[in-house]
Symmetry: C2
Subunit: 259 residues, 2 copies
């Protein structure tokens, strides 16, 4: 243990992972990001060095955590000389093999959670999915992951991608529904807070019931009168009206189809 | 106070409303539903009489709560002789005026929550929106509503409909996203429980952050590589793949548009 780590990235996940690693006794020796403001903030928080240049990334760490957004990972990787140290990406969707040209030692550590910089999370409760190119590297990543979380599972890249899609549905899409309802309410002079008991109950309910059984509302009853009244009410926003129609149809279809 | 009430309907909302009214000292003198099984179960629970025939609905109550699904309310209303007693519907979307042909005294009591029979809710925390055809009736409904909930607001039919659409987005559509992710995970041998920390955090987060600011994931970054990989992974389910595309596009558009 006591590995020296470098964080490649300074966004939401980098911030939470960096703080958690540090609090568990790992040393963060450097943070890289091309965005000076983010990297400076995170390096200050972690009391460590930073750079905005890939060629200044130190070669002396034990582990490099790639915590960039997926779309830039494959651009940044070729620019850094990892000197065959352990390189670990944290993406739900990218395959393990995207790392193989850049080091002989590589793996994945994917925490299934939504991270915002200003929001604390209890890392120990977050499911963490790991994978590596060798038993030895898997064992190192496992020893780190189990310090961070009590829910560590070895999962291959295909399985991890499924988990990521499910997470997009259950988190990003859910949050988008919250955001759309917020916009709708605020336009009409209501505060979003009015929905908090409903949102809490909707999320709490599925801890003890399958979401399939928990569904209520006009779409599951295929109450066309209500659905049409709602679509009419949204008619000044074609996109939202279409979204309403598409999701209502999808709800209806789910309950019509034999399993 | 001490009104005698009849429940017209024996579904999820009727069950919760009936139990809550009873626990607050109102007398439920009869329950009507055309579905014998439901009406019997609810009447037993409330220790009261029931009927499955509209012409057997007693004329001797003070208040009739219409807690049927919206699509049948307008069919059932003409079949009952309310003898000008107070008739109250509990629908988010139906206009107050749907009641006007059936009694001289009418109003609305709409609790903004998702109700499942087997799930307890804390009624006192539920926002309840009320409306009536006269000050006197509003005052009666208000006196009942404030016994049930500490969040009672007078709202007209147009405003209430907005609240209902927002609730469909933030509850039914959200729950559908949970259900779709459950189906996806279970097909691949994962249990839905793996998403519980993520779902909890997604719902908790927006108690202290605007959902617009809380958004994360590939769609807000318009990470086409990831989005396309996810759509490819869903390609055996055209409907789900289309839904994924539509919602991702909607997320992206929301963050591109100036407010």
């Amino acid at each position: 243990m006591g590995f020296n780590c470098v964080l490649i990235g300074a966004g939401n996940l980098a911030t939470h992972l960096g703080e958690e690693l540090k609090s568990k006794g790992f040393q963060i020796v450097q943070v890289y990001s091309r965005t000076e403001e983010s990297v400076k903030t995170l390096a200050n928080k972690l009391e460590t060095a930073y750079t905005t240049f890939t060629n200044e990334v130190t070669g002396k760490a034990d582990i490099y955590f790639i915590v960039l957004k997926d779309s830039v990972i494959e651009e940044v990787l070729p620019l850094i000389n990892f000197q065959n140290k352990l390189v670990v990406h944290c993406s739900g969707t990218l395959h393990l093999s995207v790392l193989k040209s850049y080091s002989e030692n590589y793996g994945v550590l994917y925490p299934l959670q939504t991270f915002s910089k200003k929001r604390n999370v209890i890392f120990s409760e977050i499911p963490v999915f790991i994978e590596a190119n060798s038993e030895k590297n898997l064992s190192i990543i496992n020893s780190i992951a189990t310090k961070l979380s009590s829910e560590v599972k070895v999962t291959n890249s295909e399985e991890r991608r499924i988990l990521h899609v499910a997470a997009v549905l259950a988190c990003n899409f859910v949050n988008h529904c919250y955001a759309l309802s917020e916009i709708l309410l605020e336009k009409k002079g209501f505060t979003f807070d009015i929905l908090q008991p409903l949102i809490k109950e909707t999320a709490d309910k599925i801890r003890s019931m399958s979401p399939k059984k928990a569904q209520t509302g006009p779409a599951i009853r295929f109450d066309e009168t209500i659905i049409n009244k709602h679509i009419e009410l949204l008619s000044d926003n074609t996109e939202l009206a279409n979204l309403y129609k598409t999701i209502s149809k999808s709800i209806f279809n789910l309950y019509q189809k034999p399993e």
